[in-house]
């Protein structure tokens, strides 16, 4: 019964689809985190994506972007994604911010033979043995963000570090990644809660351990609370901080102000990158939204460009993932981070840069790109990925 109903439904749907293949816009499901502590992360990804899809087209192909909030709840995201798959006929998904959400939705999308392009989360669980031909990450594999911070800590000569990250997949990837490259001693390691906003106990533990520097990974609102409380505990100026991009984006910087001066950040992108694509992007984003793009915005934009290139070269064919993949893998677009290519597990291979928070001549705080920390870094899991 179920089988015949599904077959009937499939044929009923397939007929007009074929006939309208050229006319109907490609539906893109953008399920992201728009509320809660990570709310502005998803909003930046969405806004930058829509900026690239201005005029309803990506790579010259008409697209219809369906935006939904996942509220940082894996179950809610799963429900929305399944509704998109079953009743909206969406075959191409993007938007995810948090790794725990991605781990819940990616299997549903991929089992259905649809395509997932992550603009942010790149958990280790999907980068190695369980990689998938229809799963692409445009941002980074989680670990590499923090590997670059580990390398940066070596470069800055820190010998004893205290590490903190929330207790969720990306938090564990963060600590693993940092330790993979950091050569000194880890004097303390602490997992916070993903919904925690008061870090007073952690501050006391840091003071007691008295490390050379602190590495912490707290994205979005968590990072704001962490750095402000770090300042209130009197630790700013005493114990330096080494961070990866998500722990000190331009929004966090705006919120914490002078407390962040002198902090060292590693990133694959910064608003001051001197390439034509980036200049166009930053100017257009500021003009449209009246705020500086965060690193999330840059990733949302690159994701839209990558999808645009793939749509263009595949003639807008998202029904056939193999055709789409052939068009996607060459990454035939001008990334705002300069160079970009996909590694064997369809995660990026890219350069990492050391930035430092400085006060500019106009009195405003800015992340200033200082040096290159890692070159053409893929990730530690790609060799176990067999596609």
């Amino acid at each position: 019964m179920a089988l015949t109903r599904r077959a009937a439904l499939a044929s009923a749907l397939a007929m007009p689809m074929v006939a309208r293949a050229q006319a109907a816009p490609v539906k893109i499901g953008l399920v992201t985190t728009l509320s809660g502590p990570g709310g502005y992360l998803g909003a930046d990804i969405r806004d930058a994506f829509m900026l690239a899809a201005d005029g309803g087209k990506l790579g010259g192909v008409p697209v219809q972007v369906l935006v939904e909030d996942d509220g940082l709840k894996p179950a809610q995201a799963k429900q929305t994604v399944n509704r998109f798959l079953k009743s909206e006929g969406v075959r191409l998904f993007t938007g995810v911010v948090f790794s725990n959400v991605l781990e819940a939705v990616a299997p549903d999308v991929l089992d259905d033979g649809a395509i997932y392009v992550s603009p942010n989360a790149g958990p280790s669980s999907l980068a190695g043995k369980n990689c998938n031909a229809n799963y692409y990450v445009v941002s980074w594999q989680n670990d590499t963000l923090h590997e670059s911070a580990g390398e940066n800590a070596n470069r800055l000569g820190y010998k004893k570090m205290f590490l903190l990250a929330p207790n969720y997949p990306a938090g564990k990837d963060a600590i693993t990644g940092f330790k993979r490259f950091f050569k000194g001693e880890v004097v303390g390691e602490s997992y916070t809660k993903l919904d925690q906003t008061d870090y007073a106990p952690e501050m006391a533990n840091i003071r007691a351990a008295n490390p050379d520097a602190v590495f912490q990974f707290h994205p979005g609102g968590l990072g704001i609370a962490f750095i402000r409380q770090y300042q209130q505990a009197g630790l700013v100026g005493k114990i330096p901080m080494v961070l990866a991009a998500p722990s000190l984006d331009s929004t966090i910087l705006g919120a914490v102000g002078d407390a962040a001066i002198g902090m060292d950040v590693t990133s694959h992108w910064n608003s001051d990158f001197d390439n034509a694509a980036n200049k166009t992007f930053v100017a257009a984003f500021v003009a449209k939204y009246q705020r500086l793009p965060t690193v999330y915005a840059s990733q949302g934009y690159d994701t839209a460009l990558a999808i645009g290139a793939a749509l263009q070269d595949s003639g807008g064919n998202v029904k056939d993932p193999t055709t789409f993949r052939k068009a996607m893998l060459p990454a035939n677009f001008q990334s705002v981070r300069g160079k970009f290519k996909f590694g064997p597990n369809q995660h990026p291979v890219q350069d990492w840069f050391g930035l430092r928070v400085e006060k500019g001549g106009d009195g405003k705080l800015a992340l200033v790109t200082k040096t290159r920390v890692l070159t053409d870094r893929g990730d530690a899991y790609s060799e176990t990925c067999k596609i």
Binding site: N167, S190, T192
Partner: protein
């Protein structure tokens, strides 16, 4: 030793924040028999209004006043327009309706204030830290929160034990129908109690603004801990709310601070960190389970 003293202060400060929320929630439950999931939303409203007022006027005291006032007004409005219809319904209807209110308030805040987290600055007269434990500078602002919480507890005690309205509140919690039969205008009392609860939630929200980031959904997370507090303390009891808040504040803080270190004595360091983190986030829940086994109606049960 100094570390322990500092952690105890942290636990006390967290407990005080929880108490401000739990006091209102437990009163509303004790007197109206209403489960109000939207209590955390009032905390969020207070935080947003205070942060916005402070950014606009530069005055912290004005901001706290505005946060409390608006939260109380919104709370009373909510009681008069929506919640009043729910008192006689069963708890499931109440949970459903107040959950709807959470979604409403989250969206409303996002529309009014935007999704970017807002920041409130610590006022100059409360910034900096004092070193009264040698070697441990403790932020003055956190001490101020502890002081405010203690003052609120004292005022509430006075209000409930020594005033006429407090007597009605106690009577209402114990024998609702009898109070009504004696001709007390229970509707007005309900609105006032709800307003008081909302006022305290607004105060908590306004005070944590400079510590945490003020953002949509901030009330949802603390709400769970608040419910744990009132279940431990005994539903409907202010004294229970105070005891429960202090217990949860201390247990949560100390577990987070010491559990991973204790576990490291027994297992490999990396396992201890992961396991300790998981265990410490469960600590207050386990405390609740233990209390419920020993005293099924909480530490200081109200009447019902």
């Amino acid at each position: 030793m100094t570390l322990l003293a500092e952690q105890l202060l942290n636990g006390l400060q967290y407990g005080v924040t929880l108490f401000l929320l739990a006091a209102g929630l437990t009163l509303v439950f004790g007197i109206m028999g209403l489960i109000n999931l939207a209590h955390g939303s009032l905390y969020m409203v207070g935080a947003f209004v205070a942060a916005r007022t402070q950014a606009g006027s530069g005055s912290f005291l004005l901001a706290v006043g505005a946060g409390m006032a608006v939260a109380a007004l919104v709370g009373m409005l909510m009681e008069v327009t929506i919640l009043r219809r729910l008192y006689l319904r069963d708890h499931l209807d109440q949970v459903l309706a107040t959950f709807g209110l959470i979604l409403f308030f989250n969206e409303a805040m996002a529309m009014i204030f935007g999704r970017q987290p807002m920041m409130a600055a610590i006022p100059d007269f409360l910034s900096g830290s004092v070193t009264f434990i040698p070697g441990v500078p403790y932020p003055i602002y956190r001490l101020a929160i502890i002081a405010v919480g203690a003052a609120v507890a004292a005022i509430l005690y006075g209000l409930i034990v020594h005033t006429r309205i407090g007597m009605l509140v106690r009577a209402g919690a114990a024998h609702r129908d009898m109070v009504r039969a004696l001709g007390v205008r229970i509707g007005v009392l309900y609105t006032l109690v709800f307003g008081l609860g909302a006022l305290l939630a607004g105060l908590a929200g306004a005070m944590v603004g400079p510590l945490l980031s003020v953002q949509v959904g901030m009330g949802d997370r603390i709400l769970i801990s608040t419910f744990v507090v009132i279940v431990i303390g005994g539903l409907g009891s202010i004294r229970g709310a105070l005891a429960g808040a202090m217990l949860v504040g201390m247990v949560d803080t100390l577990a987070r601070a010491y559990l991973p270190a204790v576990l490291k004595l027994m297992m490999a360091a990396s396992d201890a960190d992961g396991f300790g983190a998981g265990l410490s986030s469960m600590a207050s829940m386990m405390l609740m389970a233990v209390v419920l086994i020993i005293r099924p109606r909480g530490l200081f049960p109200g009447h019902g």
